[in-house]
């Protein structure tokens, strides 16, 4: 599903990392680990073409990343960025954002499914009608996780999905992600949370 070969990223003359080889199969749940600043988030962004590779190749479902194919690769990705703050007034507006895109036109948005996900993640139904500034960082993370799951994309990329969650909510989020993988979605996560890392099928450490 995802093949990264001999990937190297550098900013100007400064090399962030090099010789990254990572193969992720369909339905696998892999967590990228490593110290802060080692390039975990940058690696995720590189998959979507937001950071150009200095060396090596990235391919998703057999499509090798290039300026021409970046759009086709992003078509297959559901992405939850770290610390995302969207300029939306209400939660409902934020939830609907990706479903207005052409890529999701074939996906029928079901509020029932969303509320099922809310329930699994320990969120109340009433959150949907709240203003964004009224909800906590942890609630926002879980809502974004639910939105990411609802997009019917084969590759799910999640960056620090549990950084603002307590132990019980982390467990729920982990189980939710594990269920997604069990349903055949390929998941690449970044986390510093030992419990989340432990719960992922495989860990890939990026060293300094």
């Amino acid at each position: 599903m995802l093949r990264i070969e001999n990937l190297g990223i550098q900013f100007g003359q400064t090399e962030l990392f090099s010789h990254i080889d990572l193969h992720v199969k369909k339905g696998e749940l892999v967590c990228l680990t490593g110290p802060s600043g080692c390039g975990k988030t940058t690696l995720l962004k590189a998959i979507m073409g937001f950071v150009p590779p200095h060396t090596g190749t990235i391919s998703v479902n057999g499509i090798t990343l290039s300026p021409r194919t970046a759009y086709h690769i992003r078509h297959q990705v559901a992405w939850m960025p770290q610390g995302l703050s969207l300029p939306c007034e209400r939660v409902r507006e934020m939830v609907h954002l990706p479903f207005g895109l052409k890529v999701n036109r074939g996906v029928s948005f079901s509020e029932t499914t969303l509320l099922d996900h809310f329930n699994t993640l320990g969120l109340e139904k009433g959150l949907l009608d709240k203003r964004l500034h009224e909800i906590s960082g942890g609630q926002r993370q879980r809502i974004l996780l639910a939105i990411t799951a609802m997009q019917e994309k084969p590759l799910v990329i999640i960056d620090e999905p549990t950084s603002a969650l307590d132990h019980a909510s982390t467990e729920k989020a982990l189980q939710f992600v594990q269920q997604l993988a069990a349903k055949g979605k390929t998941i690449l996560a970044v986390s510093h949370d030992p419990r989340f890392i432990e719960g992922c099928g495989r860990q890939y450490k990026i060293s300094d």
Binding site: F50, P52, R74, Q76, A78
Partner: protein, 262 residues
């Protein structure tokens, strides 16, 4: 209808004394607007007198080539003014702005002169110069507001842009929220103005025509058309500018480049 009553230079001078009223309040409340007002008023007087001289000769010669040359000069000045009023890099916006202004003015202006007015000579100075002038002025002000809004929001809310792009949006879809905001900000005043026209405000073009001796019936028809063609040309020029500037605003992967001056 009657003829126009000229304003004598003495009368003009007496009229200008009214500027003392705003100047007093600007000074009293320490607004810092006294000097800009005086400089602005002097510039206005000099520029309008010069324009008066230019226009006199443009009308006298009434040559399509010279008229088009004048349009090119207006496009150049409007482009430079727009560039100076945004903090954006010249290489990103200069050519898109110039093409946007020129293409929209020609398309909408000639449509009005040729299709609506059905003039025998659509390149005649009496109609072409004022119509292109009013289009250019409106395109300039709405483009400056819209471009500043678009680029400032795009830079500030990059997370939204990349979130949409990363989840499979086309570049057009990912920039749509920013284009929407820019259009709302630039065109809301014009739309609000349209809604109260004739009730709260009597517009300049209409007043000008009535003072110039036209019947109010003719003046209102011109006024309606002026509003419609200025809004149409402004949105066309904005869309053209944004479309043409996209290549230099985003890299081949759709990532946002540094667009503001250092």
């Amino acid at each position: 209808m009657g003829t126009t009553i000229d304003i004598s230079y003495w009368g003009l001078g007496i009229g200008m004394l009214l500027l003392l009223v705003p100047l007093y309040f600007f000074h009293h409340f320490k607004t810092g607007l006294v000097k800009p007002t005086i400089v602005g008023a002097i510039r206005m007087i000099v520029q309008l007198f010069l324009i008066g001289i230019y226009l006199k000769y443009l009308f006298l010669w009434d040559n399509p080539w010279i008229n088009f040359l004048w349009v090119f000069i207006m496009v150049f000045v409007a482009t430079e003014t727009a560039l100076s009023r945004t903090r954006l890099k010249r290489r990103i916006l200069m050519i898109p702005l110039a093409i946007g202004f020129l293409a929209s003015a020609i398309l909408v202006g000639l449509y009005f002169l040729g299709v609506v007015l059905r003039l025998d000579n659509i390149f005649g100075a009496q109609y072409m110069i004022p119509i292109f002038g009013i289009l250019m002025g409106n395109m300039l002000s709405s483009n400056v507001i819209a471009l500043n809004t678009f680029y400032s929001n795009l830079m500030r809310e990059q997370q939204l842009y990349y979130y949409l792009l990363g989840n499979g949006a086309t570049r057009h879809e990912a920039t749509a929220p920013f284009v929407r905001e820019a259009i709302i900000k630039a065109f809301s005043p014009a739309i609000a103005n349209m809604a109260v026209m004739g009730l709260v405000a009597l517009p300049g073009t209409m007043i000008g025509q009535i003072l110039g001796g036209s019947s109010p019936n003719v003046a209102i028809k011109y006024q309606m058309m002026i509003i419609v063609i200025t809004v149409a040309a402004s949105i066309l020029s904005l869309m053209t500018t944004l479309w043409l500037s996209a290549r230099k605003t985003f890299d081949s992967y759709g990532c946002i480049r540094q667009v503001f001056k250092e």
